[in-house]
Amino acid sequence: MTEQFEPTIIGFTCNWCSYRAADLAGTARMKYAPNVRLIRMMCSGRLDPTFVLRALSGGADGVMVTGCHPGECHYIEQNYKALRRFLLLQRVLVGMGIEPQRVKLVWASAAEGAKFAAETTAFVEEIRALGPLNWGKADDVPQTADDIQAAIEQGVDQKEAVS
């Protein structure tokens, strides 16, 4: 049996809705995938894109951002601001060659323990399907002159194949 890939995921939750949803999932003893490690913030609006970049560059395979439903933010409308940032960040990540599915925005109210559990498990499966991110890991492989030459030639081959 081949060992299946267990992704590491960082999850950001807001204090009022999604963290409480996680609490509720716990209180209700709902089982979900153990791959997500949560960080509590006061609001999804606190999400600095730096955090996501730090997590992805630091070994996480995916990042889940959760907050109150639109219109239900405990700080009135800050989750909309999180949404705007998230959408722009996602575009930048795509530009960096990262699949947009590696970051996910989930709205979960304090009553939605089941949704939190289900979304978490679903996200883990999505990331599992994408495989490890291993950001910058290949860089540790020492390079030889032959590698570079091969890369140059490979680049040439690819272009020729296209044209």
């Binding site: 730096t50 959408l87 575009r91 960096m96 060659g97 490979q154 040439v156």
Partner: protein
């Protein structure tokens, strides 16, 4: 008898050379450099051999201004060499600090870069000749420097004492730094703490920008050439023009916005900021006046190259450093 003058070096790694020009743009101040320093190594200005530097005693150079990123093994070798020989190593200019435009090549795998350089419509290369890292000639085996997978800023490779950003650093800032170092040499001033960013302001470009600023809400992003007419007195971002000023270190006197162009971010992030692009993402996202995902996406469509916009000067110095394809290249 006079004490020997302290030694000065300057080097040009992966960069365009604009930084060297900026040094010359200090005009007569350059004479002060000559008067106060013994220039021992400055390939663009004088003849010198690597082996001469290698022969120097470690720590014998007082000040090295190192410009350019590290893109090949020659850059790497000289960076390490100069580090060993120098007391003060300054990452001079945006390339050395954070990769700058050469760092944008980190969006592509190295093979693609070479291919682009040697075989595009604008390159006349009928025989498909590509560089080889080693080549046998009758006189023996020739080597050209080996390209690294990605470009790295100087401090990814060696310990850096000071950072002086800008593409290039503003000449008045260079002059001020030269003055400071001369004063330090004369014992009239003290060096700033190690790791400081020098020749810059305290805040970001907006602080120096003369344009009027209001509470910002925008419904679209547009390229500056598509905005007609551009209000000469109003904050460019408020006019929907993606101006990097809010996230970019001050010190240039808001040169671009004052002249009617948007800031493109060459002075890098503000003090303490870990990732420049993240700050710009959040700045732009914060001013979008929309709540529905569809409308937000429509507005964001006005930024056609998000990665390039956010990291024009900073990619190699960012948390992610490079596109995934570039990392994956063998």
């Amino acid at each position: 008898m006079t004490t020997p003058k302290p030694k000065f070096a300057m080097y040009w790694a992966a960069s365009c050379g604009g930084c060297e020009i900026a040094v010359l743009n200090t005009h007569e101040k350059i004479l002060d450099v000559d008067a106060n320093f013994d220039v021992v190594f400055w390939p663009v200005a004088m003849d010198a051999k690597y082996k001469d530097v290698e022969a120097m005693e470690d720590g014998s150079i007082l000040l090295t201004l190192f410009n350019g990123g590290i893109r090949n093994d020659e850059n790497e070798h000289i960076a390490k060499l100069l580090r060993r020989k120098s007391q003060i190593m300054v990452a001079f200019g945006s390339c050395a600090c954070e990769g700058c435009i050469p760092g944008l090549a980190n969006l592509s795998p190295v093979g693609d870069i070479v291919h682009t350089a040697f075989n595009t419509l604008t390159t006349d290369n009928p025989h498909e000749i590509y560089p080889r890292t080693s080549y046998d000639v009758p006189e023996g085996e020739l080597h050209i420097p080996k390209l690294a997978k990605i470009l790295r800023p100087l401090d990814d490779m060696v310990d850096v004492d000071y950072y002086m950003p800008g593409c290039p650093p503003e000449s008045h800032q260079i002059a001020a730094v030269i003055d400071l170092v001369i004063k330090v040499v004369k014992g009239e001033a003290e060096l700033p703490p190690k790791g400081s960013v020098i020749g810059v302001g305290d805040s970001t470009v907006c602080e120096e920008c003369p344009r009027t600023r209001n509470v910002k809400t925008i419904k679209y992003f547009k390229r500056i050439q598509d905005v007609a007419p551009v209000d000469p007195d109003l904050c460019l971002l408020e006019q929907g023009i993606p101006c990097n000023g809010p996230a970019t270190r001050s010190g240039c006197n808001a040169r671009c916005p004052s002249a009617g162009a948007q800031c493109i971010g060459c002075y890098g992030p503000a003090e303490g900021v870990i990732d420049y692009g993240a700050r710009l993402i959040t700045a732009f996202a914060s001013v979008i006046d929309a709540q529905e995902p569809e409308e937000i996406e429509r507005i964001l469509d006005g930024i056609p190259d998000p990665a390039g916009q956010m990291y024009r000067f900073n990619l190699a110095g960012s948390l992610l450093k490079a596109n995934r394809e570039a990392w994956k290249a063998k």
